[in-house]
């Protein structure tokens, strides 16, 4: 069944100097239990669509609907806390929190007790192929790939139903990249999550259940 859908979604970035229409009339329904890949040229609007799906902003036109409720009509803080997680191109880790604390953050935000959160966070970090060694390191003391995996661990920690990933393997070697993809695939196929991956990597796209293509802000099934 459809968990998340775009309904005639358009989005325009407005700054003092210019307005950019980054998404134009995108419509699509995402199902639980499937992996989606969104591909397209740089600047075609992939990150923008992902951000709208994450409820970081509302579409200029149209609606993003989660479980029947448009994001404009829900508590989007709660939505982001409990239902959706985003893995960003730029990691977006807290620079002053250790790797472990970064992963604990969404858990503590949900009200999980510190001890439990720590155990859960440790488990998540190990599941993305990192060891205890990194727990106490700050992001600046981690490689790009390690930061990426911490970001993924943080996204998975709160057990969201929708996982949005922006180039999640861009900074990983083939082996680790494949690992991550496997984790994401198993979350979709075994935990019934809806996984949406923005990627340039055709190898990843091939593994997706559905591939969507974006071009100049418009979206179509490939």
């Amino acid at each position: 069944m459809s968990i998340l859908s775009l309904k005639d979604v358009s989005y325009t970035y407005k700054s003092r100097y210019q307005t950019v229409q980054a998404v134009k009339n995108a419509s699509y329904s995402f199902q639980q239990g499937k992996v989606y890949a969104i591909v397209g040229k740089s600047g075609s609007g992939k990150t923008t669509v992902l951000s709208l799906l994450a409820g970081l902003d509302l579409p200029s036109d149209g609606q993003v609907v989660y479980n029947g409720t448009p994001t404009g009509k829900m508590d989007r803080d709660k939505y982001r806390r409990e239902d959706v997680a985003v893995i960003y191109q730029a990691y977006n880790l807290f620079p002053l929190l250790t790797a472990l604390e970064n992963v604990m953050y969404p858990l503590e935000l949900k009200g999980v007790k510190a001890k439990e959160a720590r155990a859960k966070a440790a488990e998540m970090i190990e599941s993305v192929g990192l060891t205890e060694e990194v727990f106490k390191r700050y992001p600046a003391m981690l490689s790009g790939g390690e930061q990426q995996r911490i970001a993924i661990a943080r996204a998975l920690a709160a057990q969201p139903k929708v996982i949005l990933a922006d180039e999640p393997t861009g900074n990983l070697d083939t082996e680790n990249g494949a690992n991550i993809v496997n984790i994401l695939k198993s979350l979709a196929h075994e935990k019934n999550c809806c996984v949406i991956i923005v990627t340039h990597d055709l190898a990843i796209a091939e593994q997706a259940d559905v591939v969507l293509r974006m071009q100049d802000g418009e979206m179509a099934t490939a």
Partner: protein
């Protein structure tokens, strides 16, 4: 998510950046206190100067006389009740003759009175240029009393065949036309030197006042000089002088020779206090500016320090931290540092000067408020920007 845990952790990890806020608040609190202290110290100095430098004043007629003034009773009363007079030194004279009343009239009477000494009442020995000689058992304080005693010139003793310790009878006369007279017996308790002949007889002020009353004459004062108090408010005193019909000498049109001026000898005080006063005036006038500047610095510092944390803020929001919680976290961090800095500032002030006034305390609190308002505005402004645009912005 516990603020109690998150805030101290962030403060400690931000290290130098936390110290900046702390230091800014500390320095400003210290500075505001020092500034306030400097003002109050100068105010204290000013008070001390006013207390220690004596300001005198005296009444003078338009033609420059300080005696023979006929100052009315209410004028003296008005001055004494003004609160500005610490001490008034008065003389009051009455005409008459030595000895009992003699049935004289017209020119004979006026000649007699003209050639007789006047009786002058004084309430202070300072009336005499040279110190008089006073017999044992009496002293300077006799003028403050109402005792029937007098001082006469050396010449007069011989003239009237009297000696120290004798009683001298003086008959006061009201005026030429409707002649009334009254006699008083005064014990001679001393002598003074006088170039005049006939030289006046001096007695306590109250003795002469009593004669005035007996003769049913308006009680006029011959001369008056003063030691002033409450000299911080001399301008107020000057206003009061105008209300008492004293005229300003400089402005004096002087049509009526009977009009009186009150001269305040405050040059010494003015010279001594001028620089302190102008320092106080200047620093006090500058105070609001300095204060706004400090508050402004607090405002800007807190604003900027929060704005540079936009990325951190965006991450918090993207993970679903509510606006309220983000506000509380950022605000408490700033609040703790600012308060800590201000408290240290106050503590250091107390450690160095052992004193902090309520006003200074309020001032520092005012700064803290400004700082926190700056922080709040910065956080609220940040809460309004689009998280998505921060997060997707390319480095």
């Amino acid at each position: 998510m516990s603020i109690l845990k998150a805030v101290p952790r962030s403060l400690l990890r931000r290290g130098v950046r936390s110290l900046v806020v702390l230091a800014v608040s500390l320095v400003i609190a210290l500075f505001l206190n020092m500034y306030g202290n400097a003002i109050s110290q100068h105010e204290q100095t000013l008070d001390e100067l006013h207390a220690s430098i004596e300001v005198t004043g005296y009444i003078i007629s338009l033609d420059g006389n300080t005696q023979g003034l006929d100052i009315e009773e209410q004028t003296i009363k008005g001055l004494e009740e003004s609160g500005f007079i610490r001490e008034g030194i008065y003389t009051r004279k009455i005409w008459g003759m030595v000895g009992p009343w003699q049935e004289l009239a017209g020119t004979q009477l006026s000649n007699k009175i003209y050639n007789s000494p006047r009786l002058i009442g004084a309430n202070s020995i300072t009336t005499f240029a040279l110190p008089p000689e006073i017999m044992d058992g009496y002293d300077e304080s006799l003028f403050a009393s109402a005792e029937k005693v007098c001082l006469v010139s050396e010449d007069s003793l011989g003239l009237y065949g009297l000696a120290i310790g004798d009683e001298l009878q003086y008959t006061a006369v009201s005026d030429w036309r409707n002649v009334r007279h009254s006699s008083v017996s005064l014990k001679i308790v001393g002598t003074y030197e006088s170039p005049f002949r006939p030289a006046a007889i001096y007695c306590p002020l109250d003795v002469v006042t009593a004669l005035y009353r007996e003769l049913d004459l308006p009680v006029l004062t011959d001369s008056a000089s003063f030691i002033l108090q409450n000299t911080q408010e001399l301008n107020q005193f000057r206003e009061l002088l105008e209300n008492l019909n004293f005229i300003n000498q400089q402005a004096g049109s002087g049509s009526d020779y009977k009009q009186l001026s009150f001269i305040i000898s405050d040059r010494l005080l003015k010279n001594a206090t001028a620089s302190v006063q102008s320092y106080i005036d200047f620093t006090t006038a500058l105070y609001p500016v300095i204060y706004l500047l400090c508050a402004g610095i607090g405002f800007v510092v807190s604003y900027l320090l929060i704005r540079i944390r936009k990325p951190e803020f965006a991450i918090m929001r993207s993970l679903g931290t509510s606006k309220v919680l983000t506000f509380l976290i950022f605000f408490s961090e700033q609040g703790v540092l600012c308060l800590l800095g201000a408290a240290l500032g106050i503590f250091l002030t107390l450690a160095t000067t052992q004193h902090i006034s309520a006003q200074q305390f309020v001032t520092v609190i005012g700064y803290v408020v400004f700082y926190l308002v700056g922080a709040s505005i910065a956080i609220l402004a940040m809460n309004r920007v689009n998280v998505m645009q921060i997060l997707t912005a390319k480095e």
